[in-house]
Structure formats: C-alpha cells, structure tokens
Amino acid sequence: MLHIKCPYCGMRSQNEFSYGGDASVKRPELNKEISDQEWDSFVYNRKSLRGKHLELWQHLSGCRQWIKVERDTATHEIFNTHKADEEIS
C-alpha cells in the first residue's frame, strides 16, 4: 500500500485516495474548434509510462482535494506531491 503525502493533510495511506490518471492531460478549451484526432487523443490516448509519471489522485476520504503526485510507475517511489494549482517545474 502506497504512502502518499497529501499537500493539505500530510502522509496518508493509499486507501484514502482514489487514482485519477495522467495529470499532464489538458482538457481542450470549451467552444474551441479542434480536430477529431486532437479530441480522441484527449479522451482516449494515454501513455502507459514505465518510470516517472505525473498523476492525479483525489484525497477522497480526506480533504477531497485533487492533487498531483510524481510517482515512478515501476518502483512506486513517490518523489513529490503538489496541490492542483501548483506549477510544477
């Protein structure tokens, strides 16, 4: 079971969180003309990375905030966690 540091609540067990997928995906702006390909890529296409991955988790049984987690998908090492609006360098 992972141990995830919620930027609001501190270290918590994985079972308080739910996984939300790739955090680098950006939703296309509303009312913007985009190609089918761009839209499909937003809806369906995800890289299944081995290694460092920026992902979303929601602290569901805690503060309910969506957070960003830098995690290695192979080793499960968590390098850093960020608030949703935090700029990640």
Binding site: M1, L2, H3, S13, S18, G20, R27, P28, L30, N31, I34, D36, W39, F42, V43, Y44, L56, Q58, L60, R64, Q65, W66, T75, H76, I78, A84, D85
Partner: protein, 998 residues
C-alpha cells in the same frame, strides 16, 4: 502410551502439564510447550502423511516453518482447518489431527501405486499426458487427479471465529528474535525508538535456544530471556510471538499474521483467533535467520531423514529424540553440533562427513567425545519404506564423482546438513537486488530499495560475534537517525566455537546400476531426474523449469528445495548459480488463512449499511428491504401473505389511482453555491442552464468526456447563487468527485463550491392523482395549485413548524411532489404524510413499485444509463444543446454515435401478454437461427405494467427508431426461455406526459 523417545530431562517444555491428543484416531500424550510434531516424535510416530505425486510415506523433515512433509488436517473446537504444519501447531489438550493426501489410510495408501509407476510420472507429466483427447480433461483426468493428489479439506461451514485487522506505525520493525533481532531491538529501544519485535515461533530467541554459546557470561538462552524480559518492560517496545511477518509491500508497509488463539483449545470470549497487522515502519530490520539445506541422495525422502538442525531442536527445545541410532550426514560443521547433542544425552551417533580432512574446534570436540566420524563418506541411499532402518553408505573420491564400495549400516534416522540458506524472502519482496555469495553458496540481500537492512544469518553471517556486533550497531545507528538519541551499549563478551569451511558438495551420485529417486522438492516430489528431463527438453529459464517440474511450488514454496534446484541447474548447464538466478520471492512467506485476510469485513460488515431517517417506520410497517448500493431501502411493504409481485402491484396501482409515498432519501444531493454556479451547471449538463429562474427545477443529463451518459437528475435553483442538485443513488459519490475534478483542475476560475448534502435531507416522494389534495393538507398555508406550484416548480415552506422544501418533480410519471426536510425531522414528515393521507388512501410504496412505475412510463434509470449509452440511445437527445459546449459534447459526433441504425430505447410487450420477460435477455430476429444468433438488443428492465396489467419491458435495440411495431423474439438461454414479442414505444403509459402537468 509411553513417550518412548522423550528424554528424562531437558527441553523447554512444561513437564508438569501433560496433554492428551489424538492423531489418526489414536490417543497420545505430550507436554505443554510441545508442537504436534515434537509430541508425535516423542511417541515414536514418524509416518504422518503421503507425498503429493507418488504417495510415498512422509515423516518429519524440519521443526518449523520450512516443513515440507508434516501437513495435517486439524480439528479444534468443532472446526477443522486444512494444511496445518505439525511442526508449527502447538499442542493443546484435546487436539485432534489427521493425515491428509492418503486414502484409505496413511499406512495403506492406494495412491502409492504411483510410486511403482513413477517411470510414467516424470516432469511435465500432466502437461504431456492429459492433453488428449481434450474432452477427457474434465471428465476423466481432472476428477482423478483431484482425488489422488491434493492436500487437506477446507471446511464448508461458516467460520465463526473472529479475525481482526490492526494498523500500526513504528520507527523500527524487527523481524525475528534470534541474536540479531534481539540485539538490534535492544539497541534501538534503548535509543527511545518505537520498536516492534516479531517472532513467528512461540518462544523468543531463535537459534540461541539450540546453540551452545555464551553471551556476557550467560548461556545464549538465558541472555535471550533477559533481553526479552527487559524489552517487554519498555513502554516504547511491542514484543510479539506467534507472529509471522509474511509480506513486504510498498513504502515500507509490512503485513504480519499474529496467531492469537491457534495454540489454545478454544478461542477466549471477545478474543480474535488471528490478527493481521499492517505495519508501516520507518526502518525494517530483517533478522529472519537461515534454513538448513538438505543433502540429496537416494530415497532421501524416507521418514527418518531430516534436517540435523531440526533433530537438534527436538532435542534441546522439546527433550525428544528423533532416533536412538542416529546417522548424521553433513558437509559442514553444523551436523557435529547435532551429533554432540545426541552424545551428551547418551546416544551414540555416527557422523559421515563428505569433506576430506576438515579441522575445527567443534570437530575436535566431537572426536574428544569419542563420536564415530567417517570423513569422505556419504549416504548413498536411505533404506526402509515407512521409516529408515539402515543406510547404504560409501566412501567418495576427492573429486566427488566416484563412490567406493557400498556398505549398509543400521540406523533409525539420518540427520542431514547441507549448510545454510539465508531467509531473504522479505528483503527480496521489498525490491532488494539480491547477490550470490560464493563462500556460502547462497543468495544474500544486496542493494536495498526500501528502508530495509538484513542482519545475521539472513545476511549470510554465520558467526555469533559478528552478528551481534552488526546488529547492535544497526539498531543503534538506525534509531539514532529517528530519535536523535545516542545511548551507547556495552558490547557483551561472546564465546562460540569456530567453524571450518563447508563442502560445496551436496548431491550424491547414483551408485552403479541403481536408479534411486533423489528428491529436491519433498512436498511436490520433484527429483533430480525431473530437473534433468526438463533441461533436456529445452527448458532454460529457472522460472520455466520451476513451473514445468513444479519445483518449489508446493505450500512450503521451496524453502528447503529452491537452492538445491538452482545448484543442480547450474551444474548441468555448467553455469554459475548467479547466472541461473533465483525465482521471484512473492508474499506471503507462509500460507495465511483467508479469515485473517478478510478480517471483520464479513457478512453484513463487508460494507457499511446506510439507513434513512424513516427506517424504523419502514421496519415497523413490514417493509422488506433491499440493498441499493450501501443503502437499505424498502422493496415493498408486505400485507398479510402477499408476495413481492402482489405487493408491488398493489402499491403501484395505488399510486396510479390514489396517492403513494416513497422514501427517496437515498437520492444523491449536492449543494452548489457561488456566483458561477449556473455556468458550472451549463458546462456539466447537456442542456441550457443559464436562464433557469429562481424557484424552478430542471431535469438534466450529464455526460462523460467520451459522450456516454454519466448520470441524470433534477437541479433546482434555490436562490440567485444557490442550487440543489440531485443524482441517482448509485452515482452520488462519483458525480461529486466529477464536479470537484472540473472545479479544482479544469476550471479553477469558476467561483463555485460543492458539497454533498445527501444525509442532511430526508426525502419523500408523494405521487398520484390525489397528491395535490394531500399536499394541501400538509401545507395549508401555501398555494400548491397547478398555478401556484406548477410542474418543475419549487417552494420553501413550513410543515407544522418544520422547515420544508417542496419540489414538483415526478419519477413515477404521475402528478407528484418531493418533500425534503432536515434529516432529524424525516420521521415526523413521514408520519404526517401517512396520517393526513389516510383519507386519500395513501400507501407507502417501495423500490419495486417505483421501478414498475418508471419503466412503464419509459423513464430511464441505471439499467439504461449503464455506461454504454449516449443521450440518443435513451431518447434524451432532446436535452442536448446545439448551441453551447459541455462536457462530452465533442464526442457525440463520432461516427458510431451518429449512425443511422444507432441503438435506441424501445418498449417490449410479449405477444401473449402473459409471459414475463427476464432482464438481460437478448432480442433476436429469428429464434431458430444457428448459434451464435445475432443479437439486436437487450432487455434493460422489466415489470408488470399496473396500467395495462400485462408484462412490459424496456430494451436498448439496434435501429430502435424504426423497429416500432416489429415482431421479434426475446431469448434467455439462462432461463431457457424464448418469447415472441412486439416492439412498442418506450412510453407505455401517458406518452404525452399530461399527468405530471395536471
């Protein structure tokens, strides 16, 4: 029965407390502190089971967790447990156990015929033989194999025992209470760290209980006892025996199974049988010791052949002799310790040492004691069927290839020692990159991935002094990092005997003309020749060899066999062991009971139960409940001998003719506030929301980004910047997360807050032509006329002093209202409705009638919004705005979603107007078409229409738009039904929707 193999004195058992127990129906006696194994051996019982494949007789091989043979069916307090290791099960008064895997009895086993057919049962036998003809597998081979092979029998009864889970954080978790565990725990505890020390056996001390050493002028055992006593007194230390740490998971979380009551005749009241600990530790010290390796020779599986360390443990801990005429066969000094222990107890052992001329302190001691030692000698084969009665021995050449003349010597047990294998399971599970250590011919932990440190024998360190030094230092250094304390501990004086180098030889060649089975895996009957066959047939990867031969795949997971298997592969392949590599170590280290894994989450505790504030009223009024997600909802209210069908029909009919009331508290409710609330709704729902006036409700549909309908419900504008959203019961939590996702991540600029208020409001749906009349009674001061409170209207009111919200919305399709009050007033509201509704024949209705009413109206619910349908499919496309953008809109113009013959919701009526249609059935054109019959659609929901008094179903049907009036067939192979049906509109009742507006 006398305990003929019990010594007069000695051992750590309590001789004052004699215990009786039964094995295979026969009564024996042992002492408190015995294991089932030690008590059986004390009684001279060495035949405990039959092997898996050849059904060869099985005795005892070890004295603990590594035991491959002595697996029994245990009976305790009217319960039975399969596959209990006799070497781990502590004896209690009245214990009963039976052999497994033998029929009709352990002494006469029909399956042993396999032993004579063994030429037909080589590696991969099952794969090769039972493949053809294919149909034989299910009918002939599998049932036969299952009867012939297999272990104990699981109980089919409900397990009444209690199992608990516990979650703990510690600074240090120390696994194993041998010298390294004790030393590191002591040092860390003295530094003020929070420490847990876990020992899988009942007694603390590990190897100190059986080794002849001296620490700080005390015997090893006394030193262990004094350290444990001191640790137990310290408030920052938890000391646990009978506790096996079996898994090392991510982020330094380990799981430990504590056997709280397995050693007692009966679990004490309010005590668990077992407790599963989830331990998150900052540092983990693995001091799990090592397991002795077998030597491989002919018939080395005969009862009476056992590990020399086990023989020593039976002697020193239990005061039991495994034999009175022992032969010790060793390739290192450990065998000598066992032999010396025999000698000290008046027994004369013979030592066969494969080494040419080893020199060491301990060998000298054995020589001085007058023990008969034969160097360069090996056991060629054990003789005897159910018990060893002699051994064929021979001199072996210095290159270990040639055997001298084989001679036979009498003996009643053969204690083998092939050196030691560090127990690296936990380190490996943690991600540690193990490395091969040439001096000990075994793998040891290498580079750590997590915060884990392996100490002592588990780390391949076999001298006590070095082990203690390392362990004190590790305990001190690691705790210092955490607590910043630095208490120096004076290092005790250690006296131990120095050992000489072990022999790399471990597998005795076959003598000329003999074809003895030489076993590597004692539980799965994998022999040297099996590995040879696998390699000959081209298996190379050790993982493949393992699976093909089943080496190390039995319940003991190869604790005594894996390394010998690896050595054999490397010898044959002419590779070094590290090039062969070892198979993956996976948790659990030992079998864990399912009960412990499940814990308290059984039966109704497997999930929380949510009840509405009106629950007790429902109970008092004969409600029959149904699980709706985690909620318990009334399915129907039983009157007299009514069936579900009769009751729901009555309740539904009453809604259509008079008025009914339904508890709708379970609907998800989300309070939405903020200046941008309307904008959020406009983006989330498919229809327009910006112009909804205050005091009005609107039905909305929300999609996922892929265009699939996520949920539906009404949202009401309470005030300028305040909305009340309802969701379906099932999707409530998901919708809240969905809104939070968009507000926090996608559109953080929207100034909106959302919060669940599902539990804050109790809800009652009042539906039926007389509902307005009832409402007038409930709210005499309000104008609830069609003009005062029109369809989709909303008003706030006062229900006899209680704040209430009235929504004119309808799921049943009748003139209907939903009244919400604060949860605490739910029962008050409900009772008022029932009381004031008497004159209008009000009746409560449950979910069954609720479903019936919505199905015949063609209102969609979860069974249509099933995660596969788009708005068009469920006839909700009228709600899809062409003008504005919203979540998922861009997906709706995908080719499949716009195809002409796209699936659509329809109504289905059986031609005979009598036969009920099973939900989930398929719709087909031709009932007699050959399989696979082309599916045109499926039945999503079925009911007995109360309006038309005949069966009616909803279906999602291909090209549904153009299918109205078609005759098709409903097929349900599960229910063995074929029903001719007609396709009709999904709106079976009041298609124009006049009633809701009346």
């Amino acid at each position: 029965m006398t305990q003929a193999f019990r010594l007069e004195n000695g051992g750590l058992i309590n001789r004052d407390k004699k215990l009786s127990f039964k094995f295979n129906g026969k009564t024996y006696y042992g002492y408190e502190g015995d294991t089932l194994a030690s008590a059986l051996i004390a009684n001279g019982v060495h035949l405990v089971g039959r092997s898996f494949k050849y059904h060869r007789p099985r005795g005892f091989f070890g004295a603990g967790v590594d035991e491959p043979y002595a697996i029994v069916q245990l009976y305790r307090n009217n319960e039975t447990e399969p596959n209990v290791k006799a070497t781990e099960q502590e004896l209690f008064e009245g214990l009963e156990a039976k052999s497994v895997n033998c029929w009709p009895s352990v002494n006469f086993d029909i399956g042993a015929i396999n032993n004579f057919l063994k030429i037909f049962l080589p590696a991969g036998f099952y794969y090769k033989t039972f493949m053809w003809p294919k149909s034989f597998w299910y009918r002939v081979y599998e049932p036969f194999i299952r009867k012939a092979a297999g272990l104990g029998v699981a109980s089919t009864k409900h397990d009444k025992e209690r199992y608990e889970h516990k979650y703990e954080y510690f600074d240090l978790l120390i696994v194993g209470s041998g010298p390294s565990g004790l030393a590191s725990a002591y040092a860390a505890a003295k530094n003020g760290a929070r420490v847990i020390l876990a020992e899988d056996k009942p007694r603390f001390g590990g190897s100190l209980l059986t080794s002849d050493v001296n620490i700080g002028n005390q015997s090893g055992e006394d030193w262990a006892n004094s350290i444990i006593a001191e640790l137990k007194e310290m408030p920052n230390v938890v000391v646990k025996n009978r506790s096996q740490v079996f898994g090392y998971y991510d982020h330094n979380m380990l799981v430990m199974s504590e056997k709280v009551s397995d050693h007692l005749p009966k679990t004490k009241k309010y005590h668990p049988k077992q407790r599963l600990w989830y331990i998150r530790a900052k540092e983990v010290l693995i001091s799990s010791g090592s397991i002795e390796r077998p030597l491989v020779f002919g018939n080395n599986d005969t009862p009476g052949v056992m590990l020399s360390s086990a023989a020593k443990e039976y002697l020193k801990v239990y005061g039991v002799l495994v034999g009175k005429n022992p032969l010790v066969f060793t390739n290192n000094d450990s065998g000598y310790e066992t032999a010396i222990e025999f000698k000290k107890n008046g027994i004369n052992p013979i030592i066969l040492d494969s080494r040419v001329n080893p020199q060491s302190e301990i060998i000298n001691e054995a020589i001085n004691l007058g023990i008969n030692i034969k160097f360069s000698y090996v056991v060629v084969a054990a003789q005897g069927y159910k018990k060893v009665n002699s051994a064929d021995i021979a001199k072996i050449s210095d290159n270990k290839k040639q055997l001298g003349t084989v001679e036979n010597i009498k003996c009643d047990c053969i204690c083998v020692s092939g050196f030691w294998t560090p127990t690296i399971h936990l380190a490996s599970q943690s991600g540690n990159k193990t490395k091969f250590k040439e001096e000990i011919d075994a793998f040891v932990p290498g580079t750590s991935k997590q915060n884990e440190t392996t100490l002592g024998a588990a780390n391949g360190i076999f001298t006590l002094e070095e082990t203690l030094k390392d362990s004190f230092t590790a305990g001190q250094d690691l705790s210092k990092k955490i607590t910043n304390n630095d208490n120096k501990i004076s290092f005790p004086n250690v006296v131990e005997k120095k050992s000489s180098q072990h022999d790399k030889f471990w597998c005795v060649p076959l003598p000329e003309g003999k074809n003895y089975k030489r076993f590597l895996d004692f539980q799965n009957d994998v022999s040297v020749s099996d590995i040879e066959i696998a390699l000959k047939e081209g298996y190379r990867s050790i993982e493949h060899v393992k699976r093909y031969t089943t080496l190390g795949m039995a319940t003991d997971q190869g604790k005594t066999s894996n390394l010998n298997g690896l050595q054999l592969v490397s010898d044959i392949e002419n590779k070094v062991v590290p090039a062969v590599g070892h198979t993956t170590f996976r948790p659990p280290y030992t079998p864990i009971s399912i009960g412990a894994i499940v814990g308290r989450e059984v039966g109704k505790h497997s999930k929380p139960t949510r009840k509405s504030p009106m629950h007790s009223w429902h109970e008092k009024n004969n409600a029959v409940f149904v699980d709706a997600g985690v909620w318990l909802r009334p399915r129907y209210y039983k009157q007299g001998n009514e069936t579900l069908f009769e009751a729901s029909k009555r309740e539904g009919k009453n809604v259509r003719t008079n008025v009914g009331v339904c508890d709708v508290t379970t609907l998800g409710k989300i309070d939405i506030k903020g200046p941008d609330a309307a904008e959020l709704l406009n983006r989330v729902y498919t229809n327009a929301w910006l112009k909804l006036p205050v005091g009005k409700a609107r039905y909305g549909v929300m999609l996922r980004e892929d265009g699939i309908v996520m949920d539906d419900g009404t949202t009401t504008r309470i005030s300028e910047n305040h909305y009340h959203m309802t969701t379906t019961t099932a999707q409530a939590a998901n919708v809240l997360s969905h809104l939070e996702y968009y507000l926090q991540l996608v559109w953080p600029e929207l100034n909106v807050n959302v919060v669940s208020t599902t539990e804050q409001w109790a809800g009652a749906a009042i539906a039926g032509p007389k509902s307005r009349k009832l409402l007038e009674k409930l709210f005499p001061n309000n104008d609830v006329s069609n003009e005062g409170l029109p369809f989709m209207g909303y008003m706030e009111s006062d229900l006899f002093g209680v704040k209430a919200r009235i929504f004119r919305i309808s799921f049943s399709g009748e003139l209907a209202y939903e009244v919400n009050v604060e949860s605490d007033n739910g029962n008050f509201m409900w009772e008022k409705i029932i009381k004031l509704g008497q004159e209008f024949q009000v009746q409560p209705y449950g979910t069954e009638a609720l479903s019936t009413l919505r199905i015949e109206m063609g209102h969609v619910a979860g069974s249509e919004l099933d995660g596969r349908t788009i708005p068009y499919d469920t006839s909700l496309d009228g709600l899809v705005s062409k003008k504005k953008d919203f979540i998922g809109k861009r997906s709706l113009n995908r080719e499949a979603f716009t195809s002409e013959d796209r699936q659509k919701i329809v109504g289905v009526v059986p031609l005979d107007k009598k036969t009920s249609i099973p939900e989930g059935s398929h719709l087909v054109k031709d009932a007699k078409a050959p399989l696979p019959n082309k599916k045109l659609g499926h039945i999503s929901a079925s009911c007995w229409s109360v309006e038309h008094d005949n069966p009616f179903s909803l279906a999602i049907l291909k090209d549904g738009k153009n299918m109205i009036g078609e005759k098709l067939f409903v097929m349900s192979p599960l229910k063995n039904k074929v029903i001719p049906v007609e396709i009709v509109s999904s709106h079976y009742v009041d298609p124009k929707g006049e009633r809701v507006r009346s």
